[in-house]
Symmetry: D2
Subunit: 486 residues, 4 copies
């Protein structure tokens, strides 16, 4: 029935900050996220949880164990990360690179020649680089696929100091993506990594969910992201720099690699709750859901003018999907509705009656199918599900979540979507940013005290599916919500 | 860690009335339970659910499929049933047997010679017998263990007509276990089955949970059992006849079999909520929990005078365990407390804070360990867990339930309890008596419309354990209640 | 808007067993209900709560206090009770009366002459009679209305011993309403009370909710009523004797009184959940809702043949209403649906989404309006709401319950129903039969330890309405369910 | 028992922005809060509810009706407001005033002579002033007490434009309390109002809950307050300007009035969950709870150096109290604990087991008693409860809330606290800032469509208490949480 192609990949994704730390010696203290989650004022007002990443699952040291488990669950592929700050604890500003700007100041080209790589090596922590090689090599040595994503949120403190930004304003402190120099430095970092690690990599991604960075960072202060600043202008600025950073990193990787380079985006499904607002919601998708990738694929977007230097910078598309955003007309405006999608009741139900995760995220697999069909038509690119999963400590809904979303992928593929694999978020519990350890996304439970790993029942369901590359008939019903109530 | 002996059996239990029906031709209409659950007055006042057993999982026809699944889950053993009414739709009163009574009228001996077997064959539905052979043989043919239990609640209508009893009183209608003749007829039935099926059987049980029959039938009318009669005298009478019926059936089986003959009892754990009532609760256990098996093992019990003809009639003990009964002192009396054990909140929590099943039964594995240790000391008999499971349609707690109760078994064995196996209740969803299909006890979900079987995630957990005959380290944490909340 | 007539009565109802006891000396131990709720076996199996009536609100001693409160809340009327057992702790069988039976053995006439009254005085507890005079006189002395109801459930033990019935069967123990003599003895009791107390009484009722007695007593064993016997035959027998008992008591009162004599019935509203079963539900109403009163008003009913001696025995009709019974078609039958009406979730919501009382009774005022309109058309009798209220310890819904049901009464009156008053159940918390003290129906909270009385906020709402004999505009919204959620 | 002094005042509080609007012509569009709650981006990201104040309870037009109700409920006193923007839609910068600054730039004195009043009259909307006179006079004309509070949050757009601040930063847009000029302009406004309205006023307050303005505005962005800016520096700056603004407004009022001038503060009770952190929590109180009022009373505070010009500027203290903040030690820090106080479960329970309001605020009257005793000892000032109430649409807990908090006041008074009155928040439902109309704080329900007013049952409880100036014995139990569950 639900049979996936033989070369369809099953696996999981991880990121540095959320997984690596846990045992002494693995800390990376000089990043924006590190100071942000340690800031006592942030903790005191409840912006962040008070949980600390140095008490995490310790993948830096225990990667072999996790790779063993991943293999035992039938996984073929991993999308991993690499911490910018770990490699470059000190500024790279002074390393030369050929930068071209257009008349508006846009960075339209960055070249990072081998001589620059040499200079970067002097600044870099080469031991950390070596350790990353060992981690990746352990997985590759099992005959598996490895995709490397370069940026997954923490920025070096020399590039972004959110506590200073808050105190002094973005003009008088390292402002991260608000600082135009970020584009060039990121390209250097990308070139450096591609130069050194391309032999272990099957595919590249420049960055993970740039949209969450600029939205949560600048216009959703309740999310607890640095710098927690409320400014729609700043959001726009950060977005434009991230777009350019992606394009320039794409170019930089291509200098040293002939693998495919993609981007991973935080997708959702803007979903009209009533028929008569479909046009408005479609317009919202253009502006908010598709704009970023449109820019780096078509070279222009609904809200971005055409630029040749952005065009054609996506070889493959990483799709992260968790839930929908439901829209309704309220007081004359078409608006996201509380009680649905990402704002359901934690551990309870959405207003639709569907169950929610521990995070309050409505389980809504239909959104993934609709999204994939839309993306396939729009871009005609190879895609991979690079994140999909659920915060569900008790493993109450994870089997259902997994099977129902895999069915959605299957259905979209049947309609022509070119999806190459499914990477679950995630293999193990990990550090969920401002929420800390409370949100548990693992197929595998981690006792953060002892660092021991234990399978959740859903891990066995994953194994059944991954080993056969199909949803076996005897597990199909798990996709059915009715099953959850008898 | 939690390694069971190599010959420890994993499997499941089924009963005729709850599993067999579902496809046309499999109905057994002339039993007390059949008329009881079809009675429109019973349905109208809500004593029974209105669900009907003829819409059940259809094991009578689909047994091969279920055996396939059981085998795939690593099961070694089944405890099955046989419907008295199916074999004997017509009365057996006229078949001769040598019956001895003492001066008080007690049936102290019944002999069922081969000539009686011949007479019984003329009355019996021999095609039904043949079909049972096929079912059992299919399982035995896989090199597995089969235990046969003779009585699992429905009585032939010619022996018990609960609707007439209700109308006319127990003196003027077939009164089931209130009728002394029931003892003898049951012995005939037992001899007949042993004579014909012993070659397919590895071990015998006379009856399943006789205590539920006499309690729910006569003094817990809210349970919805026939005849729903409120009389503590009748309860006592039925209990004494069941005790005698067991002893005489034991003797009858032994005439035609040299296998071990046991009894399956509905155990629980009477649990004092405060220390200063331990003596009272111990006394309650003597009178209510141990009395029946004491009678047929020691020949006497706290409330039963010694009788030689009852002594030594238990070769092995079947232990069914689901939850505890919590006791407290109220208005001066030591009483079962609502809100705990079997009277928690359906789908919610017990007053102890522990989660409850869909049935409202508190999850309380400690009770099983304490019980097994107590039973081991008291009887020094081989034991088998013959039922243990949870009504949990959404499979929210079943993995936890399974692992925590297996750990309890393991711990008791470590302290010397001689437990030979663990039979889950049950492989598939089935007909839960007065509750109908709403309470779903299956590792395997059954769509009662299509009769299709689907695995619940806990089935995979069961398989992990059963195939290795141990709780693997990576699943150990499932026994921990904390795991369920993160 | 919602203005009631000037002579419309507001007040409350009480019964002896539930209210009188609480302070030493007020106990009435020799009744069926007393032994039933004290029986340790009943308590142990959970049939009754274990709460004891001798710890009740102590109205026997504190009636002045309660009358003060009732007066302060604007009450005009009380419907009170009198305990048969208190007056006649010893049998009255030997007191002569002229009894006439028809050929079928029906009691078609009972005469209780003054000579019999004299004999009864010798048996009666005349001090108890005197104390009842004082209670009633205190209320009458305030210029208020008093209605006396004779039978509110407890029977003298010499007439009904439910524990013996359970042990020995109804033929060998005092069987209450299954014993034909009950009809005559009740007529004697009625005559005796009418003779002695008519001067203090403004209107008579023979009995309260006879239908609950025969239903819960014989076919709803889960309700915990004596004798908790499951027999549809017995139910029928008890019903016929209660019908005759009413008719003969009516006649007996009329010998000594020229006041109106009525009956109080436990009404509900059988409510079809779908249109296509309306005919079936209408037929159910005929058989189950209207049969009793039809018999004593028209002399015949859907299931009862015409008898001249029953006809015309209702001068006014007491309507007790709490919730509906919802019907649906299930497996081909039109049946009461769990989850609605009296079987909602305790303290939660019914499947309709409407809130439920602590007892799990759905709040459904529409049922009262429909019922009153139906009753008005059917009987054309004066009516009084003699019970209406809610078990709501936290007073969360009582104001809403009160106002919405009063609106229903108002609307029915507008359509022609001749309703003379509204008596709330009840002024104070009291002993709710098998449920004990947990179900709190009072406008006034009673601390059962200290016997102190405290107003619930709804009592103030009652006062606003009762003093003005209208629902003031500023309280109208309380009838609206939306108000309860904002 | 709980008898308050004869001159103890009962009443309620209202503010302009939350109550006045609702009928055409009453809008005040040019304030920061108006543009903030209308901003489509704010609505889209969920920072504000989308409810609009122009659909409010319409007190501007219906004040007589509300005063009627207040009077009928036994209220003696109102604390009302006046909208700065309504009086001064245009800037007052150019109006002269004598301003003195110290060497650090602090505004140590502002004089607003009558000539300035004249100039202000030319700018002011004198019709609006006249309408306020009518409102206040209607209440005073009933022989009642009126307290006027000058600032309750909205600032004129010419002084604070939060959307521009967000876009351009606080240096390039009207920055409200971050702009030092705010101190002087507020003093002018205060002088103007005192000059014109002192004859109708019994007591003055300069501002309501300044701490909420600077906390929610600058460091609690999830609260949805303008400008939703995350900066602990800005918070400090705004706080210092508000302190000076109070002191200068105090002086300005005194120029034209000899009434007492106070300040109303948002108090809570920082409550240690464990004994061993009491010292730390006491220190937190010094820095965060007491600092503002310390500054304007003692002239210095834990975190503020002494200034003569701030000293002695509080004649009376307005205490707003809703819930506690519970502290525990977490990861070594003493921090506010989620799940208690203001962060309980909406409509559910706090982790303490206590019920929460619709807002999720834990009901915790003990905090009020402790607070009042602490304040009495610290300042020895006359106090008034100027806000206390609960968002409870269904009126489930309001009676309990009211009585339990009044008992807390009583107990504190018994120990010496000089509390002059209790003003409930509030008489009617109103516009709850970023939350809109969902949070309903009224004793009186307002249908925002029709503007009709309806009493909640708790209003009748308030009346019982206010008219007798005591908690009558028969209502005392409402303070007991146990009462809410039976």
């Amino acid at each position: 029935m639900y049979k996936f192609p033989k070369d369809f990949l099953f696996g999981y994704s991880w990121s540095g900050f959320q997984f690596e730390m846990g045992l002494p010696g693995s800390e990376v203290p000089n990043s924006d996220w590190w100071v942000w989650v340690h800031d006592i004022e942030n903790i005191a007002v409840g912006l962040v949880s008070g949980d600390l990443p140095e008490n995490g699952p310790a993948y830096w040291d225990l990667y072999k164990k996790d790779h063993d488990i991943a293999e035992s669950l039938g996984m073929d592929a991993i999308r991993g990360g690499i911490e910018w700050t770990r490699l470059f604890p000190r500024p790279t500003f002074d390393v030369k690179a050929h930068v071209e700007r257009d008349e508006k100041g846009n960075v339209v080209s960055v070249e990072v020649p081998e001589s620059s790589i040499r200079e970067l090596e002097k600044i870099a922590d080469m031991k950390a680089l070596e350790h990353y090689r060992e981690i990746y090599a352990d997985w590759k040595g099992r005959g598996k696929t490895f995709i490397l994503n370069l940026y997954h949120w923490p920025l070096p403190l020399w590039l972004h100091d959110p506590l200073k930004v808050r105190k002094l304003g973005p003009d008088r402190a390292p402002a991260g993506w608000l600082d135009d120099r970020s584009v060039v430095e990121f390209a250097k970092f990308a070139a450096f990594v591609a130069y050194h690690l391309d032999d272990l990599v099957d595919g590249w991604s420049t960055m993970n969910e740039p949209n969450v960075v600029y939205q949560n960072g600048y216009t959703r202060p309740a999310g607890g992201f640095p710098p927690g600043y409320l400014s729609f202008e700043a959001e726009r600025k950060a977005k434009m720099n991230l777009i350019q950073a992606h394009a320039r990193a794409y170019d930089a990787i291509k200098e040293y690699s002939d693998k495919e380079v993609g981007i991973i985006y935080a997708y959702t499904w803007p979903d009209p709750l009533r028929e008569d607002i479909e046009d408005e919601v479609r317009a919202i998708r253009e502006r908010e859901l598709y704009s970023f990738v449109d820019a780096v694929h078509f070279g222009k977007a609904a809200d971005i003018e055409e630029r040749e230097d952005l065009k054609g910078r996506v070889d493959w598309l990483g799709v992260n999907y968790y839930s929908r955003i439901a829209f309704d007309r309220v007081n004359g405006h078409v608006l996201p509705m509380p009680g649905y999608g990402f704002s359901g009741e934690r551990g309870g139900h959405a207003r639709s009656g569907r169950p929610c995760s521990d995070f309050g995220w409505e389980i809504y697999p239909e959104g993934l199918e609709k999204l994939l069909r839309d993306l396939a038509k729009r871009y005609n690119l190879p895609m991979m599900i690079t994140e999909n999963g659920i915060a569900d400590a008790a493993d109450r809904y994870r089997s259902h979540y997994l099977v129902s979303h895999l069915k959605a992928v299957y259905e979209a593929m049947k309609e022509g979507a070119d999806v190459r694999g499914y990477l679950h978020w995630s293999l193990t519990d990990n550090y969920e940013w401002a929420q800390g350890f409370r949100m548990r996304f693992g197929l595998v439970y981690v006792d953060m005290e002892t660092k021991k790993r234990y399978l959740r029942p859903s891990a066995l369901v994953f194994r059944e599916i991954a080993t056969g590359k199909e949803i076996p008939e005897e597990l199909e019903h798990l996709s059915n919500l009715d099953f959850l109530v008898g």
